[in-house]
């Protein structure tokens, strides 16, 4: 009887060790493999101040479309995008940057100089010079990007 109990103790210990080892190996593999899978998605996007042109070329209170070259490091790959933003020189001299992407479904808006409105060619979204929705389906105003000036050069943070 005592021998049988001893046998049960021994097997219980074996089970405990087996479970422990399997869990430990599983944990190490999960951390390494899981970490490598998740890590790039957790990376915060780097702050990118990109040159967008000279202030002297901007007409006051007239949105001017400029194409900004955006270089993104995607792991082993260097992706180059070109994004269009509208620069608007305020009467006070500061410069605002508006996204050209319609907040409805992502089409590119254009500036209608006669009507002094941004118009989206896809579904008729209309915005005013400050990016506020005037009519149509867009749910939000056009996105505004931070800008700063450095010796007449305009920088936009994308």
């Amino acid at each position: 009887m005592a021998e049988q109990e001893h046998e049960i103790d021994r097997r219980g210990l074996f089970r405990w060790i087996i479970n422990g080892v399997v869990t430990a190996i599983g944990a190490v593999v999960t951390v390494v493999a899981g970490g490598a899978i998740v890590a790039p998605s957790l990376k915060k996007p780097a702050e990118r101040w990109l040159p967008a042109g000279r202030i002297l070329g901007l007409q006051p209170e007239t949105p001017t479309p400029v194409t900004v070259r955006v270089v993104r490091r995607e792991g082993y790959y260097e992706a180059v995008d070109h994004e269009t933003v509208f620069l608007i020189r305020e009467p006070g001299g500061e410069v605002r940057a508006l996204s050209s992407i319609c907040t409805h479904l992502g089409c590119h808006v254009h500036w209608d100089a006669k009507a002094r409105l941004f118009k989206c060619p896809c579904h008729g979204g209309v915005y005013d010079i400050n990016g506020k929705v005037v009519s149509g389906p867009p749910p939000r105003p056009l996105a505004t990007y931070p800008t700063r000036m450095d010796q007449n050069e305009v920088f936009v943070e994308l």
Binding site: F14, I17, I18, V21, V29, V32, A33, A39, Y77
Partner: protein, 531 residues
């Protein structure tokens, strides 16, 4: 909560019967006396599982294209969180698997476990070994570095030496006539789709047959009642797997899976070196030359595999004791001894990997040539060409080679072919020098006598010899990296001056009339100092 969990499991069991299945798996009766040697299969299973997981994650980042393969592997190793450990687990795991598979095979051989009724289990096992070697071969190419590229050039050329179908098999392996983009793509497909599928089918069959016939157990059956697999034998498996896993993680964390320079098909100076598990085959080639080459490349490996496949029918007696099967035991020991010896000789004789950050004799000699009047006639301050090293050099090897050996080819009418044109060895030296400049490696400071020896060696010897990972070996010319271990300075001096004075049959040219006595002495002294 616990009862609800149990309820779900009860429901699952009522629909699938998984508890009985699990019980059937875990309660396998294991004969008394089944010892630690019977844990090798479990080690393999665990290691293969780790390869599957790490391989799947590596595939998320790897690109099988010559344009990005190298960059993506470099990113995994240096840019990705845990990427270094991930790649090293996969890299060293491959070596662990080859060792475990061979150990498992030897255990089955010595214990006579392949005998009736386990012949088919044995056959699936031999197939699994071939699949594992297939994984090793195809995986080696994927990083697309110099090691990968040149080892694959050699292995596909080996396939070419097979009689009749050789050239077709080689072209099929390469997806064309050269190792290139299509080769990389198909080897990747074989590595991540075809071989894993084969492995799963074969491994499941192997395990099923193992259960069907039971574990063969000790050579002489022992008396005593059998025990269930779980936990009595499983504890042995677990402890051994834990040990192997700890060792693998240590290698992965502290080791470095190599990544040489990016594959460069135009760099003829690279010395191909296989991974250690193919080293014995590679070394065998040194002993079978010319028409006999297929004996080493195809004949001996095919014979070995054929004998393995036929073994259960070649050795049909029921007795499993290795002492009562002297032929099998002796042949196994001899073959194993042969493989180990060939591997050891191969590892000893293979020159070390060139370190891209170290200036070897070729690059130092190239620098000396670049600073001589041959080059500075034009490459001078205010001259027709820029001072070498003053600006980035973008031209490739082929351009530089043409520029040095035949300027007409590059720029017709610019300048005539110089009287003192460079020979092949000197041209390669200059290319090696330009590579260092392109790589931004600063010139080294070294003792004057070493530099002098480097200049002579780099511009004279590296057409036939290799040293410290530079140069090309041709014919019987040995690697000189450890020349001082076997030769003294006096002997070397005499040998370089005129080899036929020592060995009338030597094919090495005499340098007594090409180099002066001091140059020869410098080289002899330097080489004899290399231990």
């Amino acid at each position: 909560m616990a009862t609800r969990g149990k309820g779900v499991l009860n429901w699952l069991d009522s629909r699938t019967g998984y508890r009985n299945g699990l019980k059937h798996l875990l309660d396998e009766p294991i004969q008394s006396g089944t010892g630690w040697w019977f844990t090798l299969g479990s080690i393999l299973m665990a290691l293969l599982g780790i390869q599957f997981i790490t391989g799947a994650v590596l595939t998320m980042y790897y690109v099988p294209s010559p344009a990005y393969a190298y960059d993506s592997v470099k990113y995994i190793s240096t840019g990705l969180t845990f990427g270094h450990v991930l790649r090293d687990l996969h890299f060293f795991g491959a070596s662990f698997i080859v060792i475990a598979a061979v150990a498992h095979l030897l255990r089955v051989l010595f214990f006579g476990s392949y005998k009736k009724p386990r012949e088919v289990t044995w056959l699936t096992g031999v197939c699994l070994l071939l699949v594992i070697l297939g994984f090793a071969l195809t995986g080696y190419l994927l990083p697309w570095d110099q090691r990968a590229y040149w080892a694959t050039v050699v292995s596909t050329n080996i396939a070419k030496t097979a009689p009749l179908l050789g050239p077709y098999v080689s072209a099929l392996m390469k997806g064309g006539q050269d190792v290139g983009a299509l080769t990389l793509n198909r080897w990747f497909a074989v590595h991540v789709i075809i071989l894993p599928a084969l492995l799963v089918v074969l491994a499941v069959t192997h395990l099923y047959l193992m259960r069907r016939h039971g574990i063969s157990g000790p050579v002489r059956p022992r008396h005593g009642k059998s025990h269930p697999f779980y936990p009595d034998h499983a504890i042995k498996d677990t402890l051994v797997v834990a040990l192997v896993f700890a060792l693998l993680v240590t290698f992965a964390v502290y080791g470095h899976a190599p990544l040489a320079a990016k594959a460069d098909p135009t760099d003829a100076s690279y010395i191909p070196r296989p991974e250690w598990y193919f080293m014995s085959l590679f070394q065998l080639l040194h002993y079978f030359k010319g028409g006999l080459e297929p004996v080493a490349t195809i004949g001996i490996p095919t014979l070995l595999v054929a004998v393995l496949f036929l073994l259960p029918w070649l050795d049909r007696k029921q007795d499993r004791d290795p002492r009562k099967r002297p032929v099998v035991t002796t042949v196994t020991v001899l073959v194993l001894g042969g493989i180990v010896t060939l591997t050891a000789i191969g590892l000893h004789e293979t020159p070390p990997e060139p370190n891209p950050d170290i200036w070897g004799p070729a690059s130092v000699a190239g620098e000396a040539i670049a600073q001589s009047t041959q080059c500075t006639r034009c490459h001078t301050d205010g001259g027709v060409a820029a001072v070498l090293g003053s600006q980035e050099i973008r031209q490739g090897d082929g351009w530089i080679e043409g520029h040095l050996s035949d300027p007409e080819m590059i720029a017709p009418g610019l300048r005539p072919k110089p009287q003192d044109a460079l020979d092949v060895v000197q041209t390669r030296a200059v290319i090696a020098y330009v590579k260092k400049l392109q790589g931004g490696v600063p010139p080294p400071s070294m003792p004057a006598d070493v530099r002098a020896a480097y200049v002579v060696i780099g511009s004279n010897c590296l057409g036939c010899h290799s040293i410290k990972g530079e140069g090309t070996r041709s014919g019987d010319a040995p690697d000189l990296t450890h020349e001082g271990r076997t030769r003294k300075a006096d002997w070397l001096d005499q040998w370089i001056t005129d080899p036929t004075m020592i060995d009338a049959s030597s094919t090495m040219p005499a340098f007594g009339d090409k180099l002066n006595a001091q140059q020869i002495q410098t080289v002899a002294n330097y080489l004899s100092s290399l231990k």
